[in-house]
Amino acid sequence: MADAVPVVKLEGVRKAYGTGTPVEVEVLHGIDLELQRGEFVALTGPSGSGKSTLLNIIGLLDRPTAGRLLISGRETGRLNDTELTQLRGHSIGFIFQTHCLISAFTALENVMMPQLVASEFPNDAIRARAEELLDQVGLTRWKDNLSSNMSGGQQQRVAIARSLAMNPVLILADEPTGNLDTKSADGALDLMRQVNRDHGTTFLIVTHSMDIAHRCDRIIDVVDGQIVN
């Protein structure tokens, strides 16, 4: 029964900027969407179509102007900022296009970060979990390197490991391969696919690349703030 509950459910989600001002602009016009557990979904669309806004709303970084958003069946509209932050920290992992690591920390510490934020003090279990994740992405050798001493591909793999640290039900990736060469991009995508298969984690990947989109289970095409396909 639990699997039947969608990981993400959007009902009539709208987002407008400059509400109540003469320059009010609505960028999302009533989005209805469901993502099931274990899905590997691409979110495509031209620049300015509202993909990133939709991703930020699903990632609880932004609030919709209207409509409902449920994460694993939990209504998010009435949660305050602290509750949203906690839900985000425990349920959602992020992979960003650039500047994905915190440069003051090593690769291992970056992977430990989500758990550290939640538990305040580091401990051996957190360290062991981070090492295990780094091992999964094949970066054990580089665990003590600062991000400035790692290639773009390696950094993105660390970011993938970090996004898994809290065992989230959902991982949101914003152009995760946008800054990588073809080989590194393939490697990163394969890794995400493997995580998806092994852990049943739902992925929503924003991409401009149709090649990457076609390697996903489903493609959601957003044009002018509406899902067209």
Partner: protein, 408 residues
Amino acid sequence: MTNWVPFEWTAAIRFLKEGRMQTLFIITGVSIGVAVIVFMSALLSGLQANFIKRVLTSSPHIQLIPADEIARPLRGGAGIIEAAIVQRPAQRLRSIDQWQKVRAQLQTWPDITNVSPSVSAAALAVRGAASRSISLTGIDPEVYFNIVPLPDYIVAGQPRLTSDDIIIGLDLGIDLGVTVGDKLTLTSATGASRVMTISGLFDLGNKGANKRVAYVALRTAQTLSNLAGGVTSIDLTVRDVYAAETIAQAVETATGVQADSWIKTNAQFFTAVNAQQTSNTMIRLFVGLSVAFGIASVLVVSVIQRSRDIGILRAMGTSQGQILRIFLLQGALLGFAGSLIGSALGGGTLVYWHNALRQADGSEIFPLILEPQLFISAMVLAALTGVAAAAVPAMRAAQLDPVVAIRG
């Protein structure tokens, strides 16, 4: 990353370490500011202590003297015309009424440490054809030496005062051509005369005092001044020299005897001390402000530089409170580190200065007072200033919209 260090502390320290040059410059700035504060505070308290010591070396903290005599004209009856002028009477040498009772009363006060009755009178010291007018003080050595440590200033002979002994200043001895063991004649204003033996010579470090002041036993002074059993003043010392005026007023109210504190009798000096303290406080305040603005400006820049990091941390579930603490801690750490170096720098400079600058005779210009309290308060204040200075940038960081922050 250590297990006992909380995440916020680790993040604050790492951010400071990463912006090495910025951190180094601002810690240097804070250090210089704290060094100035520590140096000035310690120097001024040393100088003040020295001044106060000098002022209070040869005088009591409070002196009780008989109230001035005033004329009380008898008003005539009807039809008599009286002149409006009432001439002030000349103040004759008088004793304090019931001084033994006043002394006994004051000896029970916890704020008062010493009570010493004395007789002060003008006299003429004569040796052969030479004579000098002197200020004669009759004292009870056992108590008076607790107030004015005369034995410390004795350069020849003994601080001994039997009924025929007199202790005089070094310069008076030179003027009269006498030394320890020699005799001189004392003639008081009442006409009484007595031959005294010089038991000691003192040097108070003040030529005027060395020429003018002479000490005899209380009974001798009473006899010479025709004040059998009386005293012209009661000298007091108190625990807190700065509370002398308040205590003097309380003494006056309790005993009915006029009480003058050293603060009142050295009003100009005390004003100078106060002015010095005020200017020191102002300098400390402005240095503190410049330190605070320095820290704030560095952290404002740091928040802008780290907006993406803040965005990523927020996306990972970091609360606004945690972000706030990371930046407040950076302010506190900058203030604390600067105060550590600054305290060492300020204290070191003062020690160097104290050793390098000496008076002609090799003695110190000012006493070196480096109280641990000063360093502790400087460190605590600097850390608090750092936190206060970091408040605005930290709030800005905490309130950053994660979406905007990640986008940069």
